[in-house]
Symmetry: C2
């Protein structure tokens, strides 16, 4: 806390999640400190209290935490043992190391959720002694395709491979990954209708708050679009998904946000992944909910009463802006803003590279088809300098 | 512009308007640079690119503007001659010195608006040669009370005095002010039903955008509450007010925001004051309009297409949070947030002093009486640690 009673929240990681948290921190009058890898990081460009360092280094983390009322995270890559050391030195870390382990390691997550009775894909840890034999046994049960996953370090489709057969390429991949000291697991390939996400917040006091369940649309392992609420989702399923996420948050003692990525399948909801931070599937809340996920995360980690998750419009559609060939995104603002004065554009101040998430756009209103078209148009135009429909016409 | 094509907007002044502009700049991916008097200024605490200096000094202003694509202002106190020098050196200043003069000097404003045929209170400049004789002549025409104003430098009721008679105290006040090198004017005391404000934006391209007309409630010269839209205002009067503000913006060549403070009277709308920047009467737009006034100001000064001014709720009520006796505002968050999870709190990171504007709260919805009660409760509680109604009960 500063001398004037203003709480100081330290966030390890300088990505766009920390950047958007700064917008919420400014509103609440909370002081946000960021541990960034470089002064050019997305959040480092917009925060006055930046510490440049390596968030995997204990020394840098400890120096960063000095004077923070609470430490939180914009990603899962801070080593658990370092967080535990910080905790035992008396610095509140939210979420704590014990909870965060379930978002850092897919094996830890699967074991715990399965033990809790939460529906997950069937999976097996590929022991180093006999990985291929284990894979073969698992395949004989489920058939191909199967999903090979690195237990740690993946994001945006990285660290996940779909295997269509145990062919030479698959064998080489497994050997290569194990040589790289990666723990591997294999999961059944779940046939899903669509992907959903449940976003909830939990405070140390134990208060929980659930946002509407959203549909997430992925292309090539990257989320491209989020629709809130998930169209046509039955009320029962929505409540079930919210309940599931709140239960997981409470059981795992999560503090802050918890995003649960779900498959909607013929046999019900199945958990795909967990994240314990503001999440791409919740960017729509900046305009689309009374309390944004970023403000909610700050309220939760500061043990303040949580804010209303009430939607501000019937539908909100968020589309991610990916980098295209021409990095000068700002020159494309003119068309996008003139074409649609009501679409909200968010850019992350990140260098544009093809396929990289560099921003998002949000459209809100009553007509879902119109909103999807508008969000897509804006996101496509910011990426390519032309709308996708026009690109297709030219072909 | 930075190497990556990111526009750099320089804002002279480090107050809460620059602070809230930073929230919008983060969203747009625009780089905001602030010229602040101190690193402890409201905006300086939340902006990475802060230049500490005196915004009345030409040297500091010139150094600050180096590398900015455009310079704009969070107050009216940058001397016109300095802005003109900056302009002639090729730095776009928006609004420009010629326009800004009308917000800096009430005499310049009254002369121009009256010449344009815009309804203003009757007024006269008190010449230094015979100020009291002029005042007496003006009083014989309008009777008392009259309003004495310093032509420059006033805000929040400062620089404005209501004279009930030309008594000894009034004579002394006039002499004292004139000795202090202040230009004085006197205006008729307009009997108004209520106060309104018209907020519009204008871009260099000439595009204009008008927000709904709001009612502003003042106590002791300080705005305490803003209601959008002004309840019960006829559509004709609302359109007239918007038209008036857009006309003034165009005639005066304003770029950026223009707030026109209006009296609603039996003889129609009468202009009270002008401001050419984000304005307290527009804070409600952060949640209550599709495009906040802060984003709109950035879009206008960057000559981007303006955003939709569509309201996001039927009614939005904003109440200013003034400093009370106990400066530890954050300790009062618990009650306010638990009591009303949907009220939005904004604190400016300013040291709390009795009566000082240190934040605001916003409530949105359908039931105006409920929204006013909720906004008032939150603002009162943040100020006093108790709701005003409870304070009154205890008396």
């Amino acid at each position: 806390m500063t001398k004037s009673g203003v709480p100081v929240v330290g966030m390890a990681g300088g990505g766009q999640l920390a950047r958007m948290t700064q917008q919420a921190a400014i509103g609440l009058g909370v002081s946000l400190r960021v541990l960034a890898g470089s002064p050019d990081d997305s959040a480092a460009k917009v925060v006055s209290d930046v510490r440049v360092g390596d968030d995997r280094s204990l020394d840098d983390l400890v120096a960063f935490a000095e004077g923070c009322d609470v430490v939180t995270f914009d990603h899962e890559h801070v080593p658990g043992p370092n967080i535990r050391k910080l905790e035992s030195s008396g610095v509140p870390c939210r979420p704590g190391a014990a909870a965060l382990a379930h978002a850092q390691d897919k094996l830890v997550m699967r074991e715990r959720l399965t033990a809790m009775g939460v529906p997950c894909p069937d999976y097996v840890h590929l022991h180093r002694s006999a990985p291929l034999a284990m894979l073969e046994t698992f395949a004989s049960k489920h058939g191909f395709p199967l999903v090979l996953k690195a237990a740690r370090g993946g994001y945006d489709g990285k660290g996940v491979w779909v295997l269509d057969a145990l062919d030479r390429a698959a064998v080489e991949l497994v050997h290569e990954l194990l040589a790289g000291d990666v723990d591997l697991m294999v999961e059944e390939h779940v046939g899903f209708t669509r992907e959903l996400a449940a976003l909830v917040a939990r405070s140390p006091y134990g208060q929980g708050a659930a946002y509407p369940i959203v549909e997430t649309v992925q292309e090539g392992g990257i989320c491209t679009e989020v629709i809130s609420p998930a169209p046509g989702l039955s009320k029962d399923t929505a409540v079930e998904a919210q309940h599931l996420a709140l239960t997981v948050a409470a059981e795992l003692d999560v503090v802050g946000l918890l995003a649960v990525e779900l498959f909607e399948t013929e046999r019900g909801l199945i958990v795909n992944e967990l994240a314990m931070r503001p999440h791409n599937s919740g960017h729509w809340t900046i305009e689309g909910a009374r309390t944004s996920q970023f403000e909610q995360h700050l309220r939760a980690v500061l043990d303040l009463p949580l804010g209303s998750t009430e939607p501000t419009a019937r539908y909100t559609v968020m589309a991610n802006v990916l980098g295209g060939d021409d990095p000068d995104v700002h020159s494309r603002y003119f068309h996008v803003m003139a074409h649609d004065p009501a679409v909200k554009v968010h850019l992350y101040g990140k260098e544009s590279r093809p396929g990289r998430k560099i921003g998002h756009v949000t459209a809100l209103g009553d007509d879902l088809a119109d909103l999807r078209e508008r969000a897509r148009h804006a996101a496509d135009y910011l990426r390519w300098g032309t709308a996708m429909s026009e690109r297709e016409e030219r072909r």
